[in-house]
Symmetry: C2
Subunit: 281 residues, 2 copies
């Protein structure tokens, strides 16, 4: 397991941590401000959300690399299944185009929920696999990896049909494309006692590792994630399992926190992230 106590060079920022995934939240730093602040702190990279990029994907990607960092990812495709999914894959292809223009290593896929007219998750997983299989070659041509992200089961119904890493691997197996893997996010998987076994099975299909914490008293399903160390997730055990499976990539801090961290000065948030990364992750 990597020793982060004196080396935080694997840390990456998901800009959701600064409130950048939603209008009206956070301090509203520009991508340029974010890039300067992360580079100054020795970050490995930055994962952006579509709404920050607009038509400036090439410019922002180049600026990140000129600052000595990587664009570690882009969030995210539209839902691919469920009531909230667009009727075609065109929007998803446009997001793949954006990821390619940014030079983003990984595009995160939040799947969407249970397909109308079906019950449970198994039928939706099959439909998802068909749609991912249609997107995968297009993404591969553009040099983009797709990371299927299982969500905490509380997001079943309208947001996801993948609740565990094992679920996501079953869909990866159905798709069977070299650029399709999984994203492992502490918020979504911390509770799963079969996680370590699933990660071994995932092996080199782990396309990302996302850090935050699960607060003992979680007040809001979506926007009350904790800073690492403030909750009950066993962060070292989870990273140990991720690295035992072979993952050696960036560790991306992604904290949706409307009432706490999004109200703090982004520079302070970044400083706390680094300190916690070195001490509790």
């Amino acid at each position: 397991m990597r020793d982060f106590s004196n080396d935080h060079s694997a840390i990456a920022l998901n800009t959701a941590t600064l409130g950048h995934m939603l209008d009206g939240h956070g301090a509203g730093w520009s991508p340029e401000q974010v890039i300067v602040a992360c580079a100054a702190r020795g970050f490995a990279g930055i994962t952006f959300w579509q709404r920050e990029i607009g038509s400036r994907a090439i410019e922002i990607g180049e600026r990140v690399r000129a600052s000595g960092m990587h664009v570690t990812g882009l969030c995210r495709t539209p839902f691919l299944v469920g009531a909230g999914a667009p009727s075609s894959l065109e929007q998803a292809k446009e997001v793949i185009d954006m990821a390619a223009a940014l030079g983003a290593s990984v595009l995160t896929v939040v799947t969407g929920g249970t397909e109308p007219g079906t019950k449970g998750v198994l039928e939706s997983q099959k439909i998802l696999a068909e749609r991912v299989a249609e997107l995968a070659p297009y993404a591969r041509e553009h040099g983009v990896k797709l990371a299927l992200e299982p969500l905490n089961p509380m997001f079943g119904g309208n947001r996801t049909c993948l609740m565990t890493v094992r679920d996501a691997l079953r869909v990866c197996d159905m798709v069977d494309a070299p650029n399709v893997g999984v994203a492992v996010d502490v918020y979504h998987v911390w509770w799963d006692t079969s996680l370590a076994d699933s990660l071994i099975e995932a092996g080199d299909r782990i396309h990302g590792y996302h850090l935050c914490d699960w607060l003992e008293e979680t007040g809001d399903m979506l926007l009350d994630r904790g800073m690492m160390g403030d909750g009950v997730a066993d962060l070292k055990a989870i990273r140990g399992a991720v690295e035992t499976a072979g993952y050696a990539g960036p560790c991306e801090v992604e904290i949706f926190s409307a009432e706490t961290w999004w109200k703090r000065d982004p520079a302070d948030v970044l400083d706390v992230m680094v300190e916690r990364f070195k001490t509790v992750c």
Copy 2:
């Protein structure tokens, strides 16, 4: 699999469905009113909450049986682990006494969350197993079965350290007492693609099956459960798995629904329950 289309004699009411688990909710029917209404509709039994029983356990239990029904259960023990757990097991023993006085077949155990000073769930599960092992002989002497209820992972942290039936079985294995098993609640397990395998392993340790539905748009973690048929849970598949594992007991409807069903006339709620039980469960 049992055919409920013309026989709803397996239906039971958990009085939470009428708002009876919380002060200030529901129509406030007395236990006597509930008993009359359930008996008139041919229910198998009723599961009560402690707050309805007070010092009248023997009287209420006898009245249920005189009406041709069973007391299918009592909710619930205080937390046994985590920050919300009392410092001793005395309160839990008092609830066992109440279950015995009621003649309740099963006492539900909601475990409580992550033990202070620990991370994740594994340590808490071990502590839980020690405490359940201390309670199990006392419960057995009083003719009470204990049902460990895994909760949806969104309740991790402060309410549960058991997120799946498999987690609950691991604790049952550690306890190894003949009166300790699991409760299977649709709200908590509907998303679990390993459920059928876990239930086979559970076998005769399934001490209860709880019905409701998972609404596609769940607005509140605790108090927005759906009536059967209104959500996305695959109710027939889940019951099929429960019965394939050998369960042939009551199916207890437990719907926490502050904004919908708790605002309806309880008689209407019971009628809808019966109709949905026969058609979609």
